[in-house]
Symmetry: C2
Subunit: 328 residues, 2 copies
Amino acid sequence: MDRKPREDHFLGIDVGNTKLAFAITGDNELTFHEKRVVRTEPELGVEQALDKILTNSQELLETHRDQVKGIGVAFGGFVNATRSIALASPNFPGWRNVPLVNLIQDLAPGIPIKMDNDANVAGVGEATYGKAQGYEQAVYLTVSTGVGGAVLFNGQPLAGSQGLAAEFGHMIVKPDGPRCTCGSQGCLEALASGTSIARIARERALSRANLMLELAGRPEKITARTVSEAARRGDGLAKAILEEVAFYLGIGLANVISAFDPDIVVMGGGVMNSADLLLPGAIQVVKKHLSARGAIVPPIEASSIHDDVALWGAIALAHIAARVVSRS
Amino acid sequence: MDRKPREDHFLGIDVGNTKLAFAITGDNELTFHEKRVVRTEPELGVEQALDKILTNSQELLETHRDQVKGIGVAFGGFVNATRSIALASPNFPGWRNVPLVNLIQDLAPGIPIKMDNDANVAGVGEATYGKAQGYEQAVYLTVSTGVGGAVLFNGQPLAGSQGLAAEFGHMIVKPDGPRCTCGSQGCLEALASGTSIARIARERALSRANLMLELAGRPEKITARTVSEAARRGDGLAKAILEEVAFYLGIGLANVISAFDPDIVVMGGGVMNSADLLLPGAIQVVKKHLSARGAIVPPIEASSIHDDVALWGAIALAHIAARVVSRS
């Protein structure tokens, strides 16, 4: 018998392209009771990934039978406007229109479920447990493989008409800029994502002596991390690349702030492990632009919950799902 | 005696840099009972403009004594976050921190008053009486002397932390672009406002034969209207200029849509009298950009209430003010 049979539990699920993560929390929502991580292996197809998602969810639901009061799901791709179907993921070929909420609902009849794209869910995590806590209007900008975002009004993400609000990675910040993975051109993602940092560095690595090439061995082995490491060690080319990236990040931030005028901007994603190298330059650009018309620059801060932010967000979403039901 | 002594009335006030407009509506809110327009004459100073605003308001309030249930004010400049102080107007030197709501409140004790900047108020007008009616999430973009905007959630404008949300004119769409009136560089307003269209045309008018120069007489007499007229008559240079303007308008629209994913975008402002010349090109750019990632382009339409949109918006705001009070 459980010693605390009446404790409420919440299930968070993070469906990413690299890993699938699951966590159960109890009354103390800041500690995971149980956490599982398995590899997604998109190359093995949609069926096997779905099977892993559902099997692990079911096992966790059974272990905590009758205690789970809400389920939150973060999906690393596009979700539809009613947040029930995981439409597609740029890095998971073959994933198309999966009714993920219904499939999980079948395992947990009557338990409220909420799903959203991972950037929105991470934003919810940031607004519930991170630096955006307590702010009425917060913007979350994530810079990793791609660039994504969320706008939180009192902790709830702005969805938009098609569920495509806060697609900050696809704001055009340089109309004649490089091609973007989305097929368009000059998007913030094409200029300031981890992938773009690596691409720019590879293109320039052979042009003059630099530490990046030394660290990576070959141009094609240079990653965004290599660029940061080289910059930290004083490499001129690496520093110049990050300065350029910071500039476009600043333009993107200035545009987001001009659109929303938020109380705070929180920056997350793997590239923000190098926030010390990128944020000061970006904030300089924002200050120069906004102060020209007398607007105050909101705090722009690096996230403090680097790890598991989408999983934490999924737990927060599970709480929201449960609250919505208990209110109605 | 009034034949309809119990009819509710609403007062709308539009404080612009060129004109001050006042209107009273009754139960049939689509017709003005009375409308007054006087010149602002900013060159005569703040005192005289304020005196005109307050005298005209007082006279209209007295004529409709005990019937006015709400007052709405559109201000052609920045307002503070609580929407009580008209901070400053770029084209009204000397106007600083005027407690406009309090001053009007003194004339109308107990009557609810709401004020906002004119772009937001025009957006409210568009959402109440215009093409944005009935949409949950609408964006209003106004292109006239400058470029401004509003985001409407169920007809209510998004304010932002400092009251500076939806400053779409100051989104950077060309980082190395021309100087903007705000002091920064590459803003949408510096590339696609009426003032910018005129500036570009003046710069190029002497470079080759064109109808604009013929129509205006001298380069410095060319206005945005001259460019449209010349383009309509087939002038190549004028058409090329508008094509360029449409391109940047498209970039701006694409960025706004990526940020908000609205149900509809309504375009207003004087320059939209040439919507037929500008919108098709701009929409083309938006389509190309959004369709690359499979997003649906929302309807982008020219406003149908060109005249008095801010005054209509002020009336709508007066209704909102009255409703908020009657609910609480």
